[in-house]
Symmetry: none
Subunit: 409 residues, 2 copies
């Protein structure tokens, strides 16, 4: 039984709802996409509910499901994945937060929630904040893009059940973190100690002195939200006994890969934006398959069009995805099981994620080919895969790649 | 993101099995139903297993599932919903029973299980029984239709694990309630105290004296069955953050609505019988959508035909349902997501509920239309919704009406 390799390509937010201006077609249906249709024609097709029918997924929960985990079991909040995304090596039991650099006045009232859209100097501010000791708790901090960052608290008995310090609006004071369960008291205390210490270290920091001198708002505090505890999950490589790598431009998805023990590969030109070099991503994935058994690629662009409500842009992105897939088709080794799906729908009419199912095509040797000939939300429903859940995908791919362990004897 | 309203119409026991005399068609397939077919043609279709494939649902468990709850988690017995149906305000932790007025002799041997099919005077008998104190337990009693009623016990630490006092046959003595688990002792004791006290209060009650004088059997005792504890469930309005109302003629379904915190609307002519005014129900539902976000309608008639084993009657009921749906079609506001399904199959050949899946059509703006053109058990299987479970329906409707909360970020 020859083991195959697995290439899973996740088109972020690809699925959509019928658009009146497109004659009630979805952008995916309206686009010219001969290569995607070729894969559907020569593969097995179906609909996939990322979490469960009707459940609106976040990108984090849906990726956990696509990796084969039960998000209801392992997901407590976005913080840990965001932290992993900006490069903090997260450990089980760590409590992590998403952070913003903000501008506050002497009273800790928020003047600007993005610290004047700071772009430079955050690496130095990071150094001032990383490694702070808060009693028995140690704080790790990393700056992300622009005003974003992540905070990780490490120590015994921490709880993610604490409220945000981010007041989520301007003109009000930074909040005290409050324990939302009795055993979260120590965690809330540590968060509040971090707020105090961060202000002390940032307010007169050279970077901020210079900003003020230039007439810019200082990044003189960090506020926290979305606390989550890093779950006790078995990493992908051990769980499936394979070497696994991920390719993504967006920090959150890179963090998801890292959090489940996958290597994150850098690809020049893979930005996670509309300008991303998709062919470069495809080429990197094909290269990675030489040394990895499982490669997962996230293509963020369709999600951005959905959030912007731009159906015509989404059609163009699908057509660029099709070119990317032409590159994959030309170079795909014969022993690779390829899966094409989305992490959720981002309907242009909704400008946000919806709970609609997404199309799934599986292509490769040993796959029973069905009569479906188009890769879209409607056509794939007639396919052999029926309607499955996100969590089911990885076991199916492991089985088709002859890597699944037998349950029973 | 515009929020839509939801109209869910449950055709009780609608689904069926092939009937030889109908050329192996089901009654639904044999009926003339252009409007139901119109909705199927212009909607998304699929099969729904109310609980899970092959599981034979009661109307209570299936409605819980259609409301979005897991009946395996929240259902302990029919009593609580029957009690809510006859108007007892049930509280969490209450143990409730379905009851019958019966005729017993001096020895408490059951002479007639329906107290001579008593129809009048039960409201007065109810008064004699309601509010009895049984030690630390308080008993609430309501008469239902004819010989039926419900008993609710309220107190600390009650258990639903007690046996019936209803012997379920004539000519034998009323049973003692027995505890089926150690902590049910106090509950069994309270039930037995109720039996004793009820007989004392009923045997010489004026209503019964008059019945005996007229040569009718006295309703001189109440027997109990189907103990259930009222579950700790989050009511529908809080759970889904909407205003919800239900329309049904049958007491049990009205009780189901009340038990999950929905308003129950009265409709003149909506009897829950074969003579029910279905168009009046449809009109009431359309009116209710002016003030409610979610309206659920139960149409009982097809179930009655199934229990009676009358396929030709069931065809006629389907054709009346089609007229009802013509009224809905003519007046449905454009921002309503409409779902048409059944709570279970009641095949005429079985004269009882079966575990077969039921047809589901979802119609409305944003719904991806499939190629199905008939609303019946066979045709819908080719539809876009695939095969889902009862519990999945509410999340799907919430997502399509843009009311679902995101899981993750």
């Amino acid at each position: 039984m020859e083991r195959r390799r697995i290439l899973l390509i996740v088109f972020d937010g690809l699925a959509d709802r019928p658009v009146t201006e497109l004659g009630h077609k979805t952008p995916l249906e309206a686009a010219l996409k001969p290569t995607l249709d070729w894969f559907a024609t020569n593969g097995a097709n179906g609909l996939l509910d990322p979490i469960a029918p009707g459940i609106r997924p976040g990108s984090d929960t849906s990726h956990l499901a696509l990796f084969g985990y039960d998000p209801l079991e392992v997901y407590t909040g976005r913080g840990p994945f965001e932290a992993a995304g900006v490069g903090i090596p997260v450990e089980r039991g760590d409590v992590a937060f998403r952070c913003n650099f903000v501008t506050v006045d002497d009273d800790l009232t928020v003047v600007d929630r993005r610290a004047g859209r700071i772009r430079e100097g955050t690496a130095e501010l990071e150094k001032a904040l990383d490694g702070i000791k808060l009693g028995r708790v140690k704080a790790f901090f990393r700056a992300g893009t622009e005003h974003r960052g992540a905070l990780v608290l490490r120590g015994k008995g921490l709880s993610p059940k604490v409220s945000d310090t981010d007041p989520h609006e301007h003109g009000v004071k930074v909040e005290d973190a409050k324990p939302l369960e009795p055993k979260a008291k120590a965690t809330a205390k540590a968060v509040n100690a971090f707020t105090k210490e961060a202000y002390k270290r940032l307010k007169d920091h050279p970077v901020n002195r210079e900003r003020v001198a230039r007439g810019e708002m200082p990044a003189n505090l960090v506020v926290c939200r979305g606390a989550g505890i890093f779950p006790d999950i078995e990493p992908v490589p051990q769980r499936y006994k394979l070497k696994a790598a991920g390719i993504a431009g967006v920090a959150l998805i890179r963090g998801m890969f890292r959090a489940v023990g996958m290597d994150v590969l850098d690809v020049e030109g893979a930005t996670g934006g509309l300008d991303t070099d998709m062919v470069a991503k495809a080429e990197a994935a094909l290269q990675a398959l030489r040394t990895y058994d499982l490669v997962i690629v996230n293509v963020k662009a369709p999600d951005l069009c959905g959030h912007d409500g731009k159906a015509s842009e989404k059609i163009k992105i699908v057509e660029r995805i099709d070119q990317m897939m032409a590159h994959v088709k030309a170079k795909l080794p014969p022993d690779v099981i390829l899966a094409l799906t989305a992490d959720h729908a981002t309907p242009c009419a909704l400008m946000d994620h919806s709970g609609d199912p997404v199309p799934l095509t599986i292509f490769g040797e040993g796959v029973l080919v069905d009569a479906v000939s188009h890769y879209d939300e409607r056509s794939v429903a007639a396919g052999l895969l029926g309607r499955i859940r996100g969590r089911d995908l990885m076991p199916i791919l492991l089985s088709l790649s002859n890597r699944a362990e037998k349950f029973g004897a």
